[in-house]
C-alpha cells in the first residue's frame, strides 16, 4: 500500500491522522479510496471527479501534473503528499477570522 501524507490543514477531516495507507494502482484510485474512507475530505480535494486546481499532489518529489496526473501509476513503496497552499502565521486560510 502506498502512503499519503496529509497536511495539517486537512487533518481535521482525517481524525487527526497525518499518514494514511491507501490501496490503488493509480494516484486517482488511491485518492478516491482516501476520500471514501474519509468522506469529509472529498470536497477539499475534488470538484466532482476532478482534482481541484489548488491541490498539489506529489509522488516523492515529483508533481503528478508533470507525470500522468491522476492516471499516474503508483507502487506500494511510493509516498504521496498533498502539498497545501499556506499563507502565513496569524491568518491560516482566511484572514477574517483571526484578525
Amino acid at each position: 500500500m502506498a502512503s499519503i501524507r496529509i497536511p495539517t490543514p486537512l487533518r481535521a477531516y482525517t481524525g487527526g491522522a497525518s499518514n494514511i495507507d491507501v490501496v490503488g494502482e493509480t494516484v486517482g484510485e488511491a485518492l478516491m479510496n482516501l476520500v471514501e474512507a474519509h468522506p469529509d475530505l472529498r470536497v477539499h480535494l475534488f470538484n466532482d471527479d476532478e482534482l481541484r486546481s489548488f491541490v498539489n499532489i506529489f509522488i516523492d518529489d515529483e508533481d503528478i501534473r508533470f507525470m500522468q496526473g491522476l492516471d499516474t501509476e503508483i507502487a506500494a513503496s511510493d509516498s504521496l503528499r498533498i502539498i497545501p497552499s499556506i499563507a502565513g502565521g496569524t491568518v491560516g486560510w482566511s484572514l477574517m477570522e483571526w484578525k
Binding site: 497552499s85 502565513g88 477570522e97
Partner: protein
C-alpha cells in the same frame, strides 16, 4: 549556474572588515563578497514573524540597503514570534521599531521605510526602486500573489517563505531562470473551503526557522554561491523535524510567467483571492454568512439570559484549546469545524450527526452563538441554517468573548 544579480561593489573601511571578519575569512565570501553584500539592495515585504529574523540577520550580514514595507503597529500579541520588536515599542510603527533595532545592530546600513500596505497601485513603484531581491514575509494570499506577479513583471527574484502552525515552506521564485509561485499554486483555495480557526496559530519559533532560511537564500543569490532554491521547494515539519525537498517546475501555460513580462497586469488580488489582504482593507468577502440576515445580541443580553435562566442555549463554537484560555460559564461547547462537518455530513445523507455533534443544539430553542470575535459564530449560524435550523431563532453574539472580557468580566484574559 547562477549569474550574479548585480555587479556593483562597495568599499569597506577597516572597521567594517573587522565587523565582518567571520565572513571575509571564508573563501566563498571573502572581501569581494562582503563588498558585494554592501552594494546590495534587498526589499522585505512585512516586518512580522518572517520579517523579524530576516531584517535582523540581513542587517547583521551587512546588506547595504534594506527596504521594509509595512503599515502596521506593534501589538503585544506579536511578541510571541516577532522578535525584532519589544515591549518598549508596543503601539509604535513596526517600521520604526524594526529600523531602530536594525540600525542599533548595524549603523553602517541604510534602511528604507515604506509605511504603506503593498497594493497593485504602488507595487511597481516600490519594487522598481532598485531592489536586487524581494523577500516575501507576508501573511496572506492576496499579498503573496501580488508580490509574485510584480516580481515576475520586473524580473526580480522572490525569496518565498510561508508558515502555518508547525509547517513551513521555502523556495526561490525567479521567473528569469525558473518557475514562479503561480506555476506551483495557480490559484488560492477559496476562503471558507478549509476552516481556518481550527488550524490557526503558529509556533513562535517557526517563522524564525523559515525566515533565517530565506535570509540564507538571499545571501546565496547575492553572492552567486551554492545551489539556490530555484525550481525546488523545501517543506519543513517542526513536529516531525523533517525536511523534504520537492521539485517545482515551470508551467509553460502559467498565466503570469508564461507570457511576456510587459503583458503582466497587476490585478485586484483581494477579488482574485476572495479575501482581504490587510486590516485596513475595505474588501469584504462574499462569505456565506454575509449573505444571510443574521440577527445579533450583545454580551449583556447573553449575561441576562444566563442569569435569568431564560429558555436560551448559549453555544461557544471556539476550539477546545481556546476554552482553556477563557469560557463563559453555562455555555454549550461545540467547535465550529464540528458544526461544519455535521452540516456536510447531513447534506451528504448521513443523519448520524444529529445524534452526535448536533444533539446539544436544539431546534426549538433560541440560540445565542459566540466565538472569539464574532466571525466563526456567524459562519456557524449560516451552517445551521442550511440544515433546518430557524434563522429567526439564532443570534450572533456581537464581539464574541472579547466583548465579554471588555464589558462584563475585566479579569478575563484576552487573546
Amino acid at each position: 549556474m547562477m549569474t550574479r544579480l548585480h555587479s556593483r561593489i562597495a568599499d569597506l573601511n577597516n572597521e567594517e572588515v573587522k565587523r565582518y571578519s567571520r565572513h571575509v575569512i571564508m573563501p566563498e565570501v571573502g572581501i569581494e563578497g562582503q563588498r558585494r553584500l554592501k552594494a546590495s539592495n534587498v526589499l522585505l515585504i512585512g516586518t512580522g514573524g518572517l520579517g523579524s529574523p530576516l531584517a535582523l540577520y540581513l542587517a547583521a550580514a551587512g546588506i547595504g540597503r534594506i527596504g521594509l514595507v509595512d503599515y502596521d503597529v506593534v501589538d503585544f500579541t506579536n511578541l510571541q514570534r516577532q522578535v525584532i520588536h519589544g515591549v518598549s515599542t508596543v503601539g509604535a510603527s513596526k517600521l520604526d521599531s524594526a529600523a531602530d533595532r536594525m540600525l542599533d545592530l548595524n549603523p553602517d546600513i541604510d534602511v528604507v521605510k515604506y509605511n504603506e500596505p503593498l497594493t497593485s497601485e504602488n507595487a511597481e513603484r516600490i519594487f522598481g526602486e532598485d531592489w536586487d531581491i524581494v523577500i516575501d514575509g507576508t501573511d496572506n494570499f492576496p499579498t503573496r500573489y501580488l508580490v509574485n506577479d510584480a516580481c515576475v513583471k520586473l524580473g526580480i527574484p522572490n525569496v518565498y517563505g510561508s508558515i502555518f502552525r508547525f509547517e513551513g515552506q521555502l523556495s526561490v521564485f525567479y521567473a528569469e531562470s525558473g518557475p514562479c509561485y503561480r506555476c506551483m499554486f495557480p490559484e488560492p483555495p477559496p476562503p471558507g473551503l478549509v476552516p481556518s480557526c481550527a488550524e490557526g496559530g503558529v509556533l513562535g519559533i517557526l517563522p524564525g526557522t523559515i525566515g533565517t532560511m530565506q535570509a540564507t537564500e538571499a545571501i546565496k543569490l547575492l553572492l552567486g554561491i551554492g545551489e539556490p532554491m530555484i525550481g525546488r521547494m523545501m517543506l519543513y515539519d517542526a513536529l516531525e523535524m523533517s525536511f523534504q525537498t520537492i521539485k517545482v517546475r515551470k508551467d509553460p501555460a502559467c498565466p503570469v510567467c508564461g507570457i511576456d513580462k510587459a503583458d503582466v497586469v497587476l490585478i485586484d488580488y483581494e477579488q482574485f483571492c476572495g479575501m482581504p489582504a490587510h486590516d485596513h482593507s475595505e474588501f469584504s468577502s462574499a462569505d456565506e454568512s454575509e449573505e444571510l440576515d443574521i440577527k445579533t445580541v450583545s454580551v449583556h443580553d447573553v449575561k441576562s439570559a444566563l442569569e435569568n435562566g431564560d429558555d436560551v442555549v448559549v453555544i461557544d463554537v471556539r476550539d477546545p484549546h481556546e476554552w482553556d484560555i477563557s469560557v463563559i460559564d453555562g455555555t454549550v461547547k461545540i467547535p465550529k469545524p464540528d458544526i461544519q462537518l455535521a452540516k456536510n455530513g447531513i447534506q451528504g445523507g448521513r443523519r448520524l450527526w444529529e445524534e452526535t455533534v448536533l444533539k446539544d443544539i436544539p431546534k426549538d430553542k433560541t440560540l445565542y452563538v459566540h466565538c472569539r470575535s464574532g466571525v466563526r459564530s456567524a459562519d456557524s449560524i449560516a451552517y445551521l441554517s442550511e440544515i433546518g435550523y430557524d434563522l429567526d431563532k439564532m443570534f450572533n453574539v456581537e464581539g464574541g468573548i472579547l466583548a465579554w472580557a471588555d464589558e462584563i468580566d475585566p479579569d478575563m484574559p484576552k487573546y
